[in-house]
């Protein structure tokens, strides 16, 4: 049930077009915490998913659903998967994007040798074309099997810039970052201990802008390796941080942490057209991080 190799050049697994390459670059940059990372790409009729992992403790997923694309022709049977270098993909996509413009790109898979093919389609007189080698993925992506912790979800949503600021500040104590949710008074606490201690409190009633949502019916507290938590916010591009949407954090069973960000992939220009009530919600890419707790049974 694998996708057929391109012996029939007219039946590609995927041909899609995106009218804002920069949005895709922004989304993928969020999960780029190392120079060299291998990503697993999974194509389906619903869209493209890119997965990156590290040392079995941290996984990131970027969902680019089909509604983001101006054209999405899916011709495969099943779900083709391939491995690709994330750094290479992001750097390559970056060359298609020029600042201040929304550039349209066409993505095709597979090429004659299973490459990922990229082509610029918005200029009449010139064309940028690239082929990126792909690999057969050796293993399947680890399924983090995120399950709800108890009867009710343990989750809070905080402004992305505040989350990033807090995690950046917690670099000082370093090592392990303890996240605690307190039911009453409703409060989220980030705490790090090392040569010095730092505690950052997000109180639900302190400022209506800070914690946009908060659900907690039992007090919980889990520790996570600082470097993994840092990876979840450190690479969000500046313009995305400035948009300051909410980032949602959920603690699942066993303390597994899920961090979700939203990245806009809407066209940069002609905002007036979009703002006529019609800002399609699907012009948002979803970024998900899963972080394993340090002491799984800690509470």
């Amino acid at each position: 049930m694998s996708s057929s190799p391109a012996i029939e050049p007219y039946t590609l697994d995927l041909v899609c077009q995106l009218d804002n390459v920069q949005g895709m670059v922004d989304a993928l940059a969020c999960v780029r915490w190392k120079r060299q990372q291998d990503a697993l790409v999974e194509l389906s009729e619903h869209g493209i998913v890119l997965i990156v992992e590290e040392s079995g403790c941290l996984q990131a997923k970027v969902y680019l659903q089909r509604e983001l694309f101006t054209k999405y022709e899916y011709g495969a049977e099943g779900r083709p998967k391939f491995g690709i270098s994330l750094g290479l993909l992001v750097d390559c996509l970056n060359t298609f994007s020029s600042p201040g413009h929304s550039n349209t790109i066409e993505i095709k898979y597979p090429g004659p040798d299973m490459e990922l093919l990229l082509k610029s389609v918005d200029t009449l007189n010139s064309c940028i074309y690239s082929e990126i080698r792909t690999r057969i993925p050796e293993t399947n992506a680890w399924d983090y099997n995120f399950e709800q912790a108890g009867t009710a979800p343990l989750t809070f949503t905080v402004k992305s810039s505040a989350l990033k600021e807090a995690i950046d500040d917690l670099e000082w104590p370093g090592s392990i970052l303890q996240i605690s949710l307190q039911k009453s008074p409703p409060c989220v606490t980030f705490r790090g201990e090392g040569h010095g201690d730092l505690q950052i409190d997000f109180m639900y009633y302190a400022n209506t802008d800070l914690l946009l949502a908060f659900h907690c019916d039992t007090d919980v507290s889990y520790g996570y390796k600082y470097k993994f938590l840092k990876a979840t916010t450190a690479n969000i591009p500046g313009n995305v941080v400035r948009e300051n949407r909410g980032s949602k954090l959920t603690i699942g069973r066993g303390g597994m942490l899920k961090v979700q960000h939203l990245v806009s992939v809407a066209k940069a220009i002609a905002p007036q057209v979009e703002s006529a009530g019609y800002q399609p919600p699907s012009r948002i890419a979803y970024i998900e991080f899963f972080v394993k707790p340090e002491e799984p049974a800690d509470d």
Binding site: K159, D169, G196, D197, L198, D201, N207, L210
Partner: protein, 438 residues
């Protein structure tokens, strides 16, 4: 001990911490019921800064008992203040009791986040007490930080030490300053000859105090002070941020200098805090470099014998404490060391500037006796004095660099190689004096 601040006071406090962090590594906090004192001392103990805040500076201030003190790493405090001050609503600092091991810093931000830091106190704080009476300094100048920044901008940014030469505005000294007319103050780059001997760029800047300074007071003989630029620049930023002028108090080389912000008359906030930076200055005066080139000259003009002697002297000197470059300097200037011990005796040989002589005698006291050379270097010294009447510092250094490069007698193969060394070292020296006989 506990205090809490916000708004502009918090900005000043943050600025103070940043300035102290540029001076030393450890922050010592001393709190009495009426005031809070912060101080920092640099590693080489040549710079000391202290800042005091009256209790009225704070929104709330309380000290239990007669005094509280603690010391923390400045790096840690700077981490605390990483949060932009503009986003902090208020900050409070608390030392729960006298022997508490951690100080608590709490910040409430406008965004709603509350950040609480616990910084571990250093076990044995290095508490310094230093109070210098400002009135003991006979000379002073007041300058706007922007102006001083602009003047310092003429110097290489990597310059580490600077020399300020102050002369009496009313008199016309017989040295180089008279050529510049009216410009009573000179800034000069200082280059440490023991470090690589590279001295690539030297800068001299003559300043008319009435144009550049808001106030200038100096009477009597010219004096010079050489001190570290790094702390001066830190203090400059501090004063600029506080919108105050810099008041610099000095006396002469070897005596410390003192800097303080000078607030405008109508500035109410100035009364609630004060800052002082004390810097050590180099012991030896820089004003008499004109008489120093003779070692190289002697070295070059002499044949093997004298050459070896001179060659060995720098070697010996270099074995001395390298950081004590002031000593090395004065020994060279004494006509390669012989004169250093009996400075007063040999001085009559030096024809020319009596002013320089008197001060050099004082300098000679500092230097160690070098190996007794023959009279040849001395004689050539005098000859060279008349020639190098208004020697540029750079030329002097060029010559000295040569002597340093010729440390090992093995370098002294023949005159030809000496010439090569000269050429390599400095392009500044136009007419190497090695052809002179003495």
């Amino acid at each position: 001990m506990e205090f809490s601040i916000s708004g502009n006071a918090l900005k000043t406090f943050a600025r103070s911490i940043i300035c102290l962090a540029r001076v030393g590594n450890e922050l010592v906090v001393q709190a009495s019921p009426t005031q809070l004192g912060l101080h920092a001392l640099n590693a080489s103990r040549s710079a000391f800064q202290y800042i005091t805040f009256q209790s009225s500076f704070f929104d709330a201030y309380a000290v239990t008992g007669p005094q509280a003190h603690f010391s923390v790493l400045l790096k840690a405090v700077c981490s605390v203040l990483r949060t932009p001050v503009a986003s902090i609503d208020h900050m409070s600092v608390q030392l729960p009791d006298h022997d508490a091991s951690k100080v608590k810093w709490t910040m409430e931000c406008y965004s709603g986040m509350k950040k609480t830091y616990w910084i571990t106190c250093n076990v044995e704080p290095d508490i310094q007490q230093l109070s210098l009476d400002r009135s003991r300094f006979p000379s002073s100048l007041v300058v706007h930080p922007r102006n001083l920044s602009k003047l310092l901008g003429n110097f290489q940014s990597s310059l580490q030490e600077i020399t300020i030469i102050a002369t009496d505005q009313t008199s016309f000294p017989s040295d180089a300053a008279s050529e510049i007319g009216g410009k009573a103050v000179e800034f000069r780059s200082y280059v440490d000859p023991t470090k690589d001997g590279e001295a690539l760029l030297h800068t001299q800047l003559w300043i008319d105090p009435s144009e550049e300074f808001l106030q200038y007071t100096h009477a009597g003989d010219p004096i010079d002070i050489t001190f570290s630029l790094k702390e001066l620049k830190a203090f400059l930023s501090f004063c600029e941020g506080c919108e105050a002028d810099i008041h610099l108090f000095f006396e002469k080389s070897g005596e410390p200098i003192l800097m303080a912000p000078k607030f405008g008359v109508g500035d109410g906030s100035s009364s609630s805090f004060d800052a002082t930076l004390v810097l050590a200055t180099m012991l030896v005066s820089q004003l008499h470099e004109g008489v120093q080139p003779e070692p190289a000259e002697a070295a070059n003009s002499a044949g093997g014998h004298a050459a070896e002697q001179v060659g060995s002297e720098p070697q010996e000197r270099s074995r001395q404490n390298a950081s004590d470059h002031t000593r090395v300097w004065s020994e060279l200037s004494a006509g390669t060391g012989t004169k250093s011990v009996n400075g007063s005796v040999e001085r009559p040989q030096a024809q020319g500037q009596p002013d320089f002589n008197s001060q050099r005698i004082r300098d000679m006291n500092i230097s160690k006796g070098g190996p007794a050379g023959d009279n040849a270097p001395g004689a050539s010294n005098s000859q060279h004095l008349t020639q190098m009447d208004h020697a540029e510092g750079s030329r002097v250094r060029a010559a000295n660099n040569q002597s340093f490069s010729q440390r090992h007698p093995s370098n002294w193969v023949d005159d030809a190689s000496e010439d090569e060394d000269e050429d390599e070292d400095e392009g500044v020296e136009a007419t190497p004096p090695h052809n002179e006989d003495y």
